[in-house]
Structures are given as C-alpha cells and as structure tokens.
Symmetry: C2
Subunit: 395 residues, 2 copies
Amino acid sequence: MERPLEGIRILDFGHVLAMPYCTMVLADMGAEVIKIERPGKGDDTREFGPFIDGESAYFHSINRDKNSITINMKHPKGKQLFLDMVKNADVVTENFRPGTMEKLGVGYEDLKKVNPKIVYASICGFGHDTVYPGRPGYDIIAQAFGGLMSITGYPDKPPTRVGSSIGDIISGLFTGIGILSALRARETTGEGQKIDIAMTDCIMSVLENAVARYFATGEVPERIGSRHPSLAPFDVFKTKDGWMVIAVGNDSLWERFCKGLGMDELLGDERFTSNEARSQHHDILKERIERWTTDKTTDDAVDTIGKLGVPCGPVNTVDKVVSDPNTAHRNMVVELPHDKLGSIKLVNNPIKFSSMNTDIYMSAPHLGHHNRETIKKIAGYTDEQIRELVDEGAI
Amino acid sequence: MERPLEGIRILDFGHVLAMPYCTMVLADMGAEVIKIERPGKGDDTREFGPFIDGESAYFHSINRDKNSITINMKHPKGKQLFLDMVKNADVVTENFRPGTMEKLGVGYEDLKKVNPKIVYASICGFGHDTVYPGRPGYDIIAQAFGGLMSITGYPDKPPTRVGSSIGDIISGLFTGIGILSALRARETTGEGQKIDIAMTDCIMSVLENAVARYFATGEVPERIGSRHPSLAPFDVFKTKDGWMVIAVGNDSLWERFCKGLGMDELLGDERFTSNEARSQHHDILKERIERWTTDKTTDDAVDTIGKLGVPCGPVNTVDKVVSDPNTAHRNMVVELPHDKLGSIKLVNNPIKFSSMNTDIYMSAPHLGHHNRETIKKIAGYTDEQIRELVDEGAI
C-alpha cells in the first residue's frame, strides 16, 4: 500500500472550489476520485483565469490526481450510467444548490436504494436542511454571513474577506473528515449515510475566541487589525522592504526584546509594564517599535529579533513563501509533467506521512479524458454500449 | 453505534489551539480523547480569558467531549504510565516544539516499539522535518510566513491577520484528515505511522488562486480588500446600520441588479458594460451602489436585492450569526450543563450526519478529573498503584 486512502472510490460532482478542494485532498492521499462533468463544458473553473496556453491554472491547482468523465445527467441513459457506477462506488460528493440532485432523481434517498453502503456528502451555503433553501452560498457570502468578515480587518476599514476562499476550503476540510468518519462507521454498521455540510456552519466553527468571548461577556467582537486583543507587542510591523510580525507574549520576552534592541528606556515606562498596559497603549508602542524596524530589511530584523529568542517572522508575499528553503525541504512545491504545457507547478499536499506517499502524482484531467476506461471498469459497459452513449449525447 | 468514531482512542498532548481543535472535532464525533496535562497547571488555555466565574470560556470552547488526566512526564513512573497507556491506544497527538517528545523519550520511534500500530500526529510551525527546528510557530507567525497575511486586507493598510486563529485551525483540520487516513491504512497494513504537519505548509495549501496566479503569470498577488479580482460588483458595501456583500458574477445578473434597483442609467455606461470594465472602475461603481445601500438597513437591502435573484447577504457580527434562525434550525449553538457554571453555550460541530450524532455531549473537563477511571481502564493499574503515583507526584 503506497497511499493511505487506496481503495476508496468517489464519484464527484464537485465543481468550482468547496467540494473539489475536499476531493483533491483525498485524491492526493490515494482515493480514486472520478470527477463527473457536463459534456462539452465541464467544471466552470476550466474557464477561470489565470491561463497558461489556454489551460486554466486555477482548475489545475484544484483537480490534480482526479479522473474526468462526462455524463449528461438529464439523459435517461446518462442517469442510468451514473446509477450503475454508484453500485460500485463508496462515496458520492456534490456542491450543487439544495434540491438539484433530488430533481435529477439521484438524491441520497434514491442512491441508497441502489447501494445502501454509499456515503453521500454535500456542501452548500446554508445546508440541505435549512430555513434558506433558495439562497446562494458563494464564499464571500459565507465569510460574511458566518461572522468571519466582521472580525477581520482594521477598525477604520470595511469588514474584510480573507484573501483566499477560506469559506469554501474550510468546508471542504470538514467534509473530508466527515467522509472518512462515515466510511469508518460503515465498517461496523455496514451502511452508508448522508453528510450535510453548510459553509456558514463551518465559518461559525472557526471563529473560536470571538464566539467564546461573546457568550461569556455579551461583548460583540470587533475588528482590531492584526494585533492580539490582550498581548502586546503582538502585531505586524513595517520594515524597510516589507513587513514582519513580532509576538511578545509575556513580560520576560518583553524584557529580552527591549534590552536586545537597545530600547531599555521602555522597560521603565509605566505605560508598558504589563501586557494589559502595553495592549492599552499598543498604538504608541507600535510607533516606537517601527522606528526600529523601518530602518532594517525584513530579513535583518527577523534575524536580530529571532536571535533574542523572541518569536517573530517575515510577512511573506507569495513569491517569497514558495521559494523559501523550508518549502523546498518539505517538498511543498511540485512540478508535474503535463501533455500540453510540458509541466505545471502546484502546491503539494501538506499531510506528510512517515511511511506513505501523499505527493501529487498526476496533473488535472482533460474533460472526459477517462470516459472509456472508467465506464468499462466501474459500470462494466461494453465498447458497443459506450459508443451508443456517445452517439445519443448521454456522455 | 451512535457516533461514527466510537472505538478510536487518542492520547492527546495537544495544548492551546491547533491540536486541541483537531481532537475536539474527533471527540465530538465519538473518538475517546484523553487529554494529558501537566499536574497542577494543565493546558495554558485554562488561564486564558474570557472567564465565566473563574472558568476559561476559551478552554471550554475547544476541549468539550474530552477526558483530562494529569501526568508528570519527567517522572519515570509518569513516563511509564504513559507508555502503558500507549499499548492500549490508537493515536498519540502533540503540538510541542520539535524534539520535545524525543527528549522525554516518547518520540514516535520510542512509541512504535511499544505499540507498532500507534498512529502519531504532530503539529508545529515549520514541521518536525524542517530547516528551522528551533523557530516558534504561533498562529500569527504561520499566517504571516505562509503568505496569507500578504493577500488579506486593504492595499492602504498593513497585511492583515485573519480575525481568528485560522493557521492553527486549518492545521488541526488537515491533521484530522491525516489521522483518519492513517487509521484506515492501518486496517490493511496492520501498522501505524507518523504524520508531520507544519502550519506554514497548511497555510500555503489554502492560498488557492493566489499561488496559481503567481505560478502562471509571475505576478505577486497583492491585497485588494474584500472585492473579487475580476468580477464586479462583488464586494462589501456599507448600509445604514452595518455592512452587506453583493456578488454579481455575470452580465445577466448585472442587468437584473441595475433594473431592479432603478439604476438603469448604469447599463448604458461604457465603464460598466463588462466584468472587465466594471472591475477596472470598481471604485466609482462602489460609490454609486453605496448611494443606494447606505440609505437602507442591511436587512432591507439584502431582502430587496435577494428578491431580484442577485446573490447577496449580510455581514453578520457574532451576535447576529449565533442568533440567526438557520443557526437554531441546524442546532449550531448548544447549551451544555456544567457542574460549576450551571450551563455553558458553545458552537456545535458542523459535520451533520443523517443517521449518527455529532453534537457536543459533555463540557470540558476539570484538570485531572478522569485520572482514576482512565488509568484503571487503559493502563490497568490498581488503586494502590494509582495512590503511589499521586504520592510520588507522577500524576
């Protein structure tokens, strides 16, 4: 066994980001993911920029290690093909609007008649079981509705969307945990079940301290920029060529920090004698520290402060983090061969096992590239039957 | 079987947030999580505010559904007790600095001698296998180093930390997927393995489009606030009493939006005829749309625009999202009985199964509350032996 999830077969209607992210992680780890796309068009993200020679770099980053087949689910033979595949699959995944699969006659209740062992996982904005069945749930809507935007950003700026689609991604990760848990339970019960993930639930689940504080005190948490609510200096600071973070969590680090940087005068200043006092005067403190940091490059400042044993680090831009020595050491960027582009660079799977491989092994599929082999293998159709499906527009 | 992960036993050195978040999710789903804490003091977060009657609301929010035992790992009998428990456990989890477990003589290589089936998972800033073994990896350092801060926030403001500790949480979720995958592989191989999670790897893995864009074009992604890079209007907008998001992704929605809100004049304006044009003039467009939104409450504006079929939603503050009807409908806030506080409110697990329960069932443990029963059950010690451990300060 080379990869930990070998032997799990997933029929995946995932499109755009939330569910494709989930099945990407599982595919890297060895699950057989069969991406089911609309004939002719496929996943919308095939047409999302940025492009490399006409291929969507975005689509490639999320769909590596998957097989692609096309099915017209509105064609009776297309639907039958899918049901024939469900008989030999472990998991069905989708992130349509609620009700879409039911309208096609392939909701969980339909599928479990065909295969009671099937695990069915859905992701949508507000859940299948919801008071808002018709509401769309894009990432920005989930980040906003779930409360995360209200606590991200600076007080004098609007609520801030996280710079990547964290609402989709976190939902995908929770769904991955759900699928693996349901498969484990199936070992005991012999039966599958449905997992109903709402992006807004997932966002609420990652608010951590903000909700704990609200329930404990009734105070509604607000945006406070990058700083820590009760520790200081614990924030982002300007340097000569960029930005860095410094995380002084207690008085002994504070002393080491001041002495090490020749700011001894701050130690006697009563505005800075405790975390509470420093937090209260974080603005003045930041100004004073930036007088030191803006004079140094990020690398020099991180080096000097790091040597004092004070936690700190650079604010890396994307070019910096992908070229950091630790990124190479941990093989976090891989370059895959691609039949049209020659090769393509992607961020690798971050789950590192001591005795198994989870590295990306195959670039994203062309639309319907695996139709014939997959339909033969999983549905057991003959060449003749497959030709019919093509002729009739069912795949 | 009531919960999907019943039968999995986890010995958890997790402290603060990253690993405790992981084991919290697994505990909600039925895994038996035994939180191992330092005698007398316990997890640092027991002393993190906010407090309710002296109990940390923060600690409670992350450690529900777990058992607590105390072990002095530097005491030979404490260490032996732990090793005796490893013999009857499935998983060991920790988020110490690299090398800590090895120094105690309980690194993965030590543990697999005692139980070759053990799955061992670690989370730290830069990985156990790293070029930066001594570097601390707080959440803010991972968010900064991994590139997420550089793309979050407004261009005229500093890089922005996400308002919750997403670096810890995402690492916890990836680790959960890793643990369940390793347990599945063990069914086939009969052997455990080690999982080495770096928070900085995990942050890189969620940058999605930002990295795809950089690899495709060489352009270093920058902060653009809450708006979409290539669609408009797709952003946050001020209302009379707060904020809302509007997500117009294509020309037909744009037409519906303008006509529905009586902004027909914008349809003829050549600055707004395509997504590309609208993105280019997003500032002017935002000003125009805010002339409409600032005059309405968030609820009214969301209602009006939503009825047009245009995706939109409120930017909920924490009080709003926890009291939303869908939150109640999905049982996302639970109130648990607590022996000291009477009851405590927490955000529920977001993974909803059709035939199993994943709701929180037990409030967080007092320090060492489960010493006696757990040590008897898992290590098979007698009352006499346990008394000795207490007398000698080993637990």
